[in-house]
Structures are given as structure tokens and as C-alpha cells.
């Protein structure tokens, strides 16, 4: 019944519109102005002029309303440079945007038929055309040069710190497995064959390699302020993408092809909260938690390559601690993946240790979307 009424209303709405349209057309024809666009050009001229003004005002309003909500300043060093490039580009863009949009709509208003009866036959102007080819070309060249300098800094393998903190992150549907090398700073080897890759050891970690014995899974990504991080990335099943929005880090995790990203965190989680505390929007109360927003701020890891139904659920918390001491403290509390075999058998048994990731981010999904975890996790 409701559906029928809605349908009837929609039909009625369109019928009325058509009737109005037809009536206007008929009255124009009766007045003999069928194809005369004088009057129409006049009011549409005002509409277009009004539009461009309203458009500009709305953009200012959007900036005021939305900019404070955006992901805050970069928490990594290279991110400051990419943000800076963003703003430099934005600067040039804004100039071009305002000039061209305004000219477009203003000319449409100023030279509409009711104001300008006779068009000016003007077919080209080589000088002008050269100018507006060369100027953009120069600006773009500048942007390319600036961009490439930053780009090659980010990916300059030679200059990287050999003592960087190395973390191995492997993605699978729909979770992140973060492996830390433990106190020795070395990862146990992985052997990628069917003998080693098993449901309890999805990475194929070689337990005969002593380096593997203190490797541990972490439910969070923990980095150290000011200490470079090299994230080694991989994926098991489909492509995922490792994305740390606050650090301006993004790199795809591709099955069968290792990738990596190297960056240095600049602010600890605490420092970022302190900074946000100074911003008005972050002091407003989050209705979900009942607390000021800066208090619950945290760095997060997300997936940015469509990877299946729970793509949106691949969350992991990221924490930046203030120094090595705090990191070591935290590391001590983690338990290794490797479990020494109980029997007198040697550690050569590749199935000795359970290597399933300790955490399952999909549980988050449950709380918020009301789906049983089991359903989401089971294939």
C-alpha cells in the first residue's frame, strides 16, 4: 500500500512537471517567442552568475566546516614534505580555479544574448595561445621537479639507516599479521613450500632457524619516535594495501611479490593527543564515547585495496612510543610465536609452533555491524 502511494505520488509529480513544462512552451508559442532566447538568456545569465558566487561561498564554508575534521597533520617526516607539496599544488590550483570558473560563468552572464546582441568574430590569437600553453607548462614543470625530489628521498634505498626497526606485516583476508623480530632484531627465515606453509604456520617460518625463536606477533604496530621503520610487506591471498593515514604511508601488499615502505615517525601517540587538544574541534565531545575527541585519538592501520567482503574491517591500532626504553619494556611483555616442543624431540619439527596470528581485527567488525564473528572469519 505504502509502495503504491509512493509510486502514485512519483507519477503525479512527473505529470505535474510535464504539464508545467508544456504550459510554458505553449504560452511562449502564443506570444510568438518560441525560439527567441532573449528572455531566457537573461534570467539564466543571472542564475549562472549567482551560481558561481554561491559556489565560491560554499567552498569557503566547506573549508571552515570540514577542514578541522580532516585527518590531522602528518605524524611522519616524509609526510610533512608530501603535505607541503599538496599545499603548493593547491595554491596554484586555487588561482587557476578561481580565474577560470569565474571567467566561465561571468562571460556566460556578461555576453548572454540579452546583453550582447552581436557576437564578435574572433577565431584565434596565436600569441595568447602560446602564452597559455607556456605558463601552465612552466608551473607543471616546477611541480614535477619538486615532486620528484621528495619522491626520490622517500625511496632512496642507499641513504637508509641500517639500524631501522624492521617489522614484517603480512595481510590476508581480513586481518593483518604483524611479526616483530624480537630482541635479536632478526627474523626467522621463511621457507615457502607446502611442507612449511601449513594452517598453523601460514608464513612458513623455519623453526630450525634460531632467529625465529624470539619472533613475536603483535596485536598493535608499535614504532619508536624518531627511529626509522622499515615495514616489509606481503600478502597471502589477494592484494591488500598497507595504509597508515596519519603517517602518509601507503604500499600495496601483493601475493608473491614483496614490497616495503621506509619512514620515520615524528610524534608519539601522546604528543599527537597533546597537539590535538589545542584544536577546537578535537575538544568537542564524541557522542559515542562521551569524551573529548582528542582523548580517544589513535593512530590506525587500514586496508586500501579492495580485498573482499570485509575489506572495511581490516583495522589495527598503531602506537608510537617515546623511546627505545619504552619499546623494550613493551617488547618484554610479548610472548614468542615459537613454542619449544615438549617432548625430547628436537626443534626441527616444523609443526612445533603454532603460528597463527594472535589477533583478529575482524572481531571489531562484529561489534559495529552486528554480524557474528564466526560468519565473517570463516571462509
Amino acid at each position: 500500500m505504502l509502495a503504491f502511494v509512493t509510486f502514485a505520488l512519483i507519477v503525479l509529480f512527473f505529470t505535474v512537471l510535464v504539464l508545467i513544462g508544456k504550459t510554458n512552451e505553449l504560452s511562449e508559442d502564443i506570444a510568438g517567442k518560441g525560439m527567441n532566447y532573449d528572455a531566457k538568456s537573461k534570467w539564466n545569465g543571472y542564475m549562472l552568475l549567482g551560481f558561481v558566487i554561491a559556489f565560491f561561498i560554499s567552498i569557503v564554508y566547506q573549508v571552515k566546516l570540514l577542514a578541522p575534521i580532516m585527518i590531522p597533520k602528518s605524524a611522519s617526516y616524509h609526510g610533512e614534505k608530501t603535505d607541503n607539496l599538496f599545499y603548493v599544488t593547491l595554491f596554484f590550483m586555487t588561482i587557476v580555479f578561481i580565474l577560470t570558473q569565474f571567467a566561465l560563468f561571468y562571460f556566460a552572464y556578461r555576453y548572454n544574448q540579452s546583453k550582447n546582441k552581436k557576437a564578435y568574430f574572433y577565431s584565434h590569437n596565436n600569441k595568447l595561445e602560446v602564452i597559455w600553453t607556456v605558463i601552465p607548462a612552466i608551473v607543471l614543470a616546477v611541480l614535477v621537479v619538486m615532486g620528484m625530489r621528495v619522491w626520490f628521498q622517500i625511496f632512496d634505498v642507499e641513504s637508509r639507516d641500517k639500524n631501522a626497526l624492521v617489522v614484517e606485516v603480512t595481510a590476508k583476508q581480513f586481518q593483518w599479521m604483524a611479526r616483530y623480530p624480537g630482541a635479536d632484531g632478526k627474523f626467522g627465515h621463511r621457507i615457502l613450500d607446502t611442507a612449511h606453509i601449513t594452517p598453523t604456520n601460514e608464513l612458513g617460518i623455519d623453526w630450525t632457524d634460531p632467529n625465529s625463536h624470539d619472533d613475536f606477533w603483535s596485536d598493535k604496530l608499535v614504532f619508536i619516535k624518531g627511529k626509522p621503520v622499515l615495514v616489509k610487506l606481503g600478502a597471502l591471498d589477494v592484494i591488500h594495501s598497507f595504509y597508515l593515514p596519519h603517517f602518509r604511508v601507503k604500499m600495496d601488499c601483493v601475493p608473491g611479490i614483496p614490497t616495503q615502505f621506509y619512514f620515520t615517525p615524528k610524534y608519539t601517540t601522546e604528543e599527537m593527543r597533546d597537539y590535538l587538544k589545542t584544536l577546537p574541534w578535537w575538544n568537542t565531545i564524541n557522542p559515542e564515547t562521551g569524551e573529548p575527541r582528542w582523548k580517544t585519538f589513535k593512530y590506525e592501520l587500514a586496508c586500501t585495496e579492495i580485498c573482499g567482503r570485509s575489506h572495511y574491517g581490516m583495522q589495527k591500532e598503531v602506537v608510537v612510543v617515546k623511546d627505545q626504553a619504552e619499546y623494550d619494556e613493551w617488547m618484554k611483555k610479548q610472548s614468542p610465536i615459537y613454542v619449544a616442543p615438549k617432548a625430547e624431540g628436537t626443534a626441527t619439527d616444523s609443526t612445533a609452533a603454532p603460528a597463527t596470528a594472535a589477533t583478529d581485527s575482524t572481531s571489531k567488525e562484529t561489534a559495529k555491524t552486528g554480524k557474528p564473528v564466526a560468519e565473517l572469519v570463516k571462509k
Binding site: N24, M70, M93, Y120, T198
Partner: protein
């Protein structure tokens, strides 16, 4: 039907006897031949247009449905269960179906509406009319092109009704998500994806057949006097669009074929060391990235395949309704060529963070920003065109102006995306969604609408209703910006997310996603006004004024345009012109010159007049 009408004084040239006398001794075409298996370019154009409109509505409806989920992630909509059944149990769209809808929305809009619908309609309608040809080089191949498109449409539509649902791994179809026929990994990667691949195969064949025909026709069938530099910009655009398609679509066809080999025959073109549930699968040695190269080798040219015809249409419409020649005709032609060449060299800007070699990325950054130069030239020239015009703000003119506005707004953000260090943050976020919907989605639609309102009289001898057209325009302009402009501020929010509720970081824009959803619904409804106007006007629209009658044909030039399509009878007749095909003496943009409002291309130069070059 008498074919022996006298020719008007300004119509000279060779006589196409085959067509002129054809009707006397050929059999009368049957109903089937006239309306269904027609080889007439005008009918085929309408077939593409109507099919495109159907897909436009389907694609738009999908977006309304997934916008419901995005705007109100915590609410249920019981009517959805009525329509979608198991895909929306309890009135809540499932996360699987959400992705299926996003995937199909992209596929439908990019390929079936803005490529098939847009090029198919206007290339078919305008190429023969504007170059002065009786029809396409091969009417039969042209007909095949439509019917392959139709077959593609049927297959794609069918895929909505299979058990595991339509393809759901994104319109870009990346493996391994789409590369293994395993519905445990992704439901849409079952039969749904095979149908997607089949539909795309038919679509590509359709597009190639059409494209070859367009190029052949433009190069060979121009009427007497129609040198290349006398072609309207529409024709230049259609020709280069076709060339772009001919050279790039085969890469996608190959890419999809290999994907199906992986899926059906167990090859490993794109797969390597896949581990599912702790089991290492047997695939060895392939590369998922290879597919991305093949896909984007088409994918980037594809976006220009969409926008170039719209640019051509807009150039024409701006000039006619400003009563002024297009500004910098040669520069416009050269920039189309430049865009075509460069658009083959930028594809990896979609792949900056795939682990691509950073040195390689640098090359792609360079070419990507380079392509902005010809794009900028076109924008400046359009603005130059309306400057000091005597602009008739008709509905098609408004849409053309709207196109330029959208193209500017969306094109500028391309400069950020194209600079790889900035793209690290922006890639696969709402910023990209904003960019391409404005520059391609809305802009191409505006170009298409400009074309439909402008050439409706050529199609049907009537106008579309102005009042409804104006409403349609303003709602779409304001609504289009209301939907996509705020998305720039959602920079950093990943796209293709079913909900943002799991993230502290992304969860602050709820009011905005709701606002966008409301705007999307309003804009969708406004498109229905267009559809109603279209079908209503076919039967009841205002008729084109008849300026003169010759024999049984009437002639009129509704917008006072110079191009040849307006020299043909208002009635759409087989072979287009009743008498001889007009010859061409001048370029297509003689507006407001020599104290005349316009001079048709088939008007010989006046004594002492210098030809415009």
C-alpha cells in the same frame, strides 16, 4: 518516395546514384529491418542511446542503493529486502552485495553508458551527417557493433541473477581477488565474474567494430570539399576516440582472456604463491601487477575515450550557441592529438603504490602532468569561445558550460594525484572518487546531455521541453557539486568501504556522508525528469520550424548551425539527403561573419571572400 527532388542552389557535388534511385527498385524495408536489424546510422544511434539510457538508470539506481548504506549504516530499509531478497536480509544490504553494486556501478557507467552510450550515439548520428555521407562505410558492421553491445548488455544484466551474484571485485577486476574462481574468497568471483568477462569481451568487440567503422568513414566518405581541416571538432573527437579505442581495448581483451585462463584452466599468468587458509596453492610465477598494467593500458585511454566525444560535442555546442567560431580551432585539433598520444604513456599513475619501481614512476609523473597542458589549452579556448559571444543560454548551452566547469574542477585535482609523492596519501581514497566523478562522471554526462538536447531536433524533428531541461540542468549542476565536492575533504578515507565504523580515524564524517546520500537521491530523481522529457518530447515536443519545403521534404535549422546535418531534411530519410550530397566550401565555424548570423558549410565563398584557414 520520389528521389528526383531538385537540388537547392547551394547544393552541388557528386550524385550518389545508388542511394538516390535506390528506393525505386529496392524492396521496401520490413519493420524488422527498419527498427531492429537496421543498418541505418540514425537508427543505430538511437539504439545506442536508448540502451545507454537504460544502463544509466540501472547504474544510477545502484549508486542510490549503496548510498543508502553509506549514509545510514546503522539503519535498515525493509523495502530493500522486498527487492533484493537475500542480498538485503532484514532490510540491510550485505557487505558482499555492497561491493557487487559498487563494482557493477563502475562497470556500467564507465563502459556501458559513457563509452557505449555516448560514443555509440553521437559518433553514429553525427559522423555521416556532418561529413556529408549517406551512411557509415559499412552499415552491416555498424549494425553488428550495436548487436554485440546488446549481447554484452544481456550477459551483464543476467549476471545480476546468478546465485552468487554479479562480479564484486571492483570495476578494475584486479586478480587475485577476481583471478581465482573461488567464491569463498569472493562471492562475485564465481559465475558472476565469468559473465562480467564475457560481457566485456562482447563489449570490446562492439567497440572495435564501431571504432574501425568510424575511422574508415571519416577518412574515406567525406563529401566533396570537406578537407580534414574543415571538419567540425565533433568529428575530430570521434575519430581520435575511435583510434584510441582501437589501440587500447585489445590490451584489455588480452588481459581479461589471460585472467579467464587463470580462472578456468589453472594457468598462473597473474598468480604466484597464493596461500589460502594456510594452504599454499599450486600457482607459480605469475604477477598480479601484470594485470594492472594491461588493465590501465586500456584504463587510462578509456577515460579519454569517454571525455573526448564529450569535448567534441561541447566545442560544437559552445560555438553554435555563442554565435561565435570556436576559439583556436587548430590548437583544439592539435590538443586532441596530443591528449591521444600522451594518454598512452601515463597508465602507471594508477599504480604508484603497487611497488612499482620508483624510477619508472617518475616517468609516469612527467607524462601525467604533461597531459594537463593540452587539457588546459582546451579549457582556455572554450572560455575564449564564449568571450564576447552573443550567447543563447539554451539548455544544451548550459550543459556545455557546466561541462567546462566540471572539467576544470576535476582536472585540477588530477595534478595532485599525478604527482606520485602526493598520491601516496590520496590513492584509493575519496579524493580519487571526487576527482574522477567530477572530471569524468559528471562532466561526460554534461557533454552527453548537451548533445542530446542539441541534436534532439536532428533525431526527432522536435525539441525537448525547455522548462524541464532547465530544472534538470540546475538540479544536476548544484547536486553534482554537492555530491562530489565535499568528498575532497574526505581525503584519506578509503574508498569501497561498507562502513567507517571500525575506525576511529575515519568515523567523523557521518553527517557528510548522509548529506551526500541525500544529494545523490535528488540528482538521481532529476535524471528521471530528463528521461520523462525525452520520451514525452519524442511525441509531443515542440516541432522544428519549417523554413522551406521541397518536394515532400521540409527543411529547418533549429539552432542556426553551419554544419551539414542541418542541411538535410527534417525528416530522417535513408541516405540522409534527398538530392545530391552537399559539397563543402568553408570551415564549420562561420558565425557572425560578413554581416550574416551564420554561413553554412555548403555555401560557396562569396566573390572576393577569403577562405578561413
Amino acid at each position: 518516395m520520389s528521389a528526383h527532388t531538385t537540388t537547392t542552389a547551394d547544393v552541388h557535388g557528386h550524385v550518389d546514384t545508388d542511394h538516390i534511385h535506390g528506393h525505386d527498385h529496392h524492396h521496401e524495408p520490413t519493420w524488422m529491418e527498419t527498427y531492429i536489424f537496421s543498418t541505418d546510422h540514425k537508427t543505430i544511434a538511437k539504439q545506442f542511446l536508448i540502451t545507454g539510457m537504460f544502463w544509466g538508470i540501472v547504474g544510477g539506481l545502484l549508486s542510490v542503493l549503496f548510498r543508502l548504506q553509506l549514509g545510514w549504516p546503522n539503519d535498515t530499509f525493509p523495502f530493500l529486502e522486498t527487492f533484493l531478497g537475500k542480498w538485503a536480509e532484514g532490510g540491510k544490504i550485505s557487505n558482499e552485495f555492497y561491493l557487487a553494486m559498487v563494482t557493477m556501478h563502475g562497470t556500467i557507467l564507465v563502459f556501458f553508458v559513457l563509452t557505449g552510450g555516448l560514443s555509440g550515439t553521437f559518433a553514429n548520428l553525427l559522423i555521416p551527417y556532418q561529413i556529408g555521407a549517406r551512411d557509415m562505410a559499412s552499415g552491416f558492421i555498424n549494425m553488428l557493433s550495436y548487436w554485440f553491445f546488446f549481447a554484452a548488455s544481456i550477459v551483464l544484466f543476467t549476471s545480476f541473477f546468478v546465485q552468487t551474484g554479479p562480479a564484486s571485485g571492483g570495476w578494475t577486476a584486479y586478480p587475485p581477488l577476481n583471478g581465482m574462481r573461488d567464491i569463498a574468497i569472493n562471492k562475485g568471483s564465481g559465475l558472476g565474474f565469468d559473465l562480467w568477462a564475457l560481457a566485456m569481451t562482447f563489449f570490446i568487440i562492439s567497440s572495435l567494430l564501431g571504432g574501425l567503422n568510424y575511422v574508415a568513414t571519416i577518412l574515406n566518405l567525406r563529401t566533396k570539399g570537406m578537407g580534414m581541416m574543415k571538419l567540425p571538432l565533433t568529428i575530430w573527437a570521434f575519430m581520435f576516440t575511435a583510434i584510441l579505442g582501437i589501440l587500447s581495448f585489445p590490451a584489455l581483451l588480452a588481459g581479461v582472456a589471460l585472467l579467464e585462463f587463470d580462472r578456468l584452466l589453472g594457468t598462473s599468468f597473474y598468480l604466484n604463491m597464493i596461500v589460502v587458509n594456510g594452504h599454499l596453492l599450486d600457482y607459480r610465477g605469475g604477477s598480479p601487477i601484470l594485470f594492472q598494467h594491461l588493465f590501465w593500458f586500456l584504463g587510462h585511454p578509456e577515460v579519454y575515450i569517454i571525455i573526448l566525444p564529450a569535448m567534441g560535442i561541447v566545442s560544437e555546442v559552445l560555438s553554435v550557441h555563442s554565435r561565435k567560431p570556436i576559439f583556436g580551432y587548430r590548437a583544439m585539433v592539435v590538443s586532441i592529438m596530443a591528449i591521444v598520444v600522451i594518454s598512452f604513456l601515463v597508465w602507471a599513475h594508477h599504480m604508484f603504490v603497487t611497488g612499482l619501481n620508483p624510477n619508472l614512476a617518475a616517468v609516469f609523473v612527467l607524462f601525467t602532468l604533461l597531459i594537463a597542458v593540452p587539457s588546459a589549452i582546451k579549457v582556455f579556448n572554450w572560455i575564449g569561445t564564449i568571450w564576447k559571444g552573443s550567447i543563447r543560454l539554451t539548455v544544451p548551452m548550459l550543459f556545455a558550460i557546466g561541462f567546462v566547469s566540471m572539467f576544470i574542477s576535476g582536472g585540477l585535482t588530477g595534478l595532485m594525484l599525478g604527482n606520485s609523492p602526493i598520491d601516496i596519501q590520496l590513492h584509493d581514497t575519496y579524493f580519487v572518487v571526487a576527482h574522477f566523478h567530477i572530471v569524468m562522471g559528471v562532466a561526460a554526462f554534461f557533454g552527453m546531455f548537451a548533445g542530446v538536447y542539441h541534436w534532439f531536433p536532428r533525431f526527432y524533428g522536435r525539441f525537448m521541453n525547455d522548462t524541464l531541461g532547465y530544472i534538470h540542468f540546475y538540479v544536476t549542476l548544484i547536486g553534482g557539486y554537492a555530491i562530489f565536492f565535499p568528498m575532497h575533504f574526505m581525503t584519506g578515507l578509503p574508498r569501497r568501504y561498507y562502513t567507517f565504523a571500525n575506525f576511529e580515524t575515519f568515523n567523523n564524517f557521518n553527517f557528510l556522508t548522509q548529506f551526500i546520500s541525500v544529494a545523490a537521491i535528488v540528482v538521481f530523481l532529476a535524471q528521471l525528469i530528463f528521461v520523462v522529457n525525452f520520451f514525452y518530447s519524442i511525441f509531443k515536443g515542440r516541432k522544428v520550424d519549417v523554413e522551406r519545403t521541397e518536394g515532400e521534404h521540409t527543411y529547418g535549422n533549429p539552432w542556426e548551425g553551419t554544419t551539414l546535418e542541418w542541411t538535410a531534411p527534417i525528416e530522417r530519410i535513408h541516405g540522409n539527403w534527398a538530392g545530391e550530397i552537399p559539397s563543402v566550401y568553408r570551415w564549420p565555424y562561420d558565425y557572425s561573419v560578413n554581416d550574416k548570423p551564420y554561413i553554412s558549410q555548403n555555401t560557396p565563398l562569396a566573390p572576393g571572400e577569403v577562405e578561413h584557414t
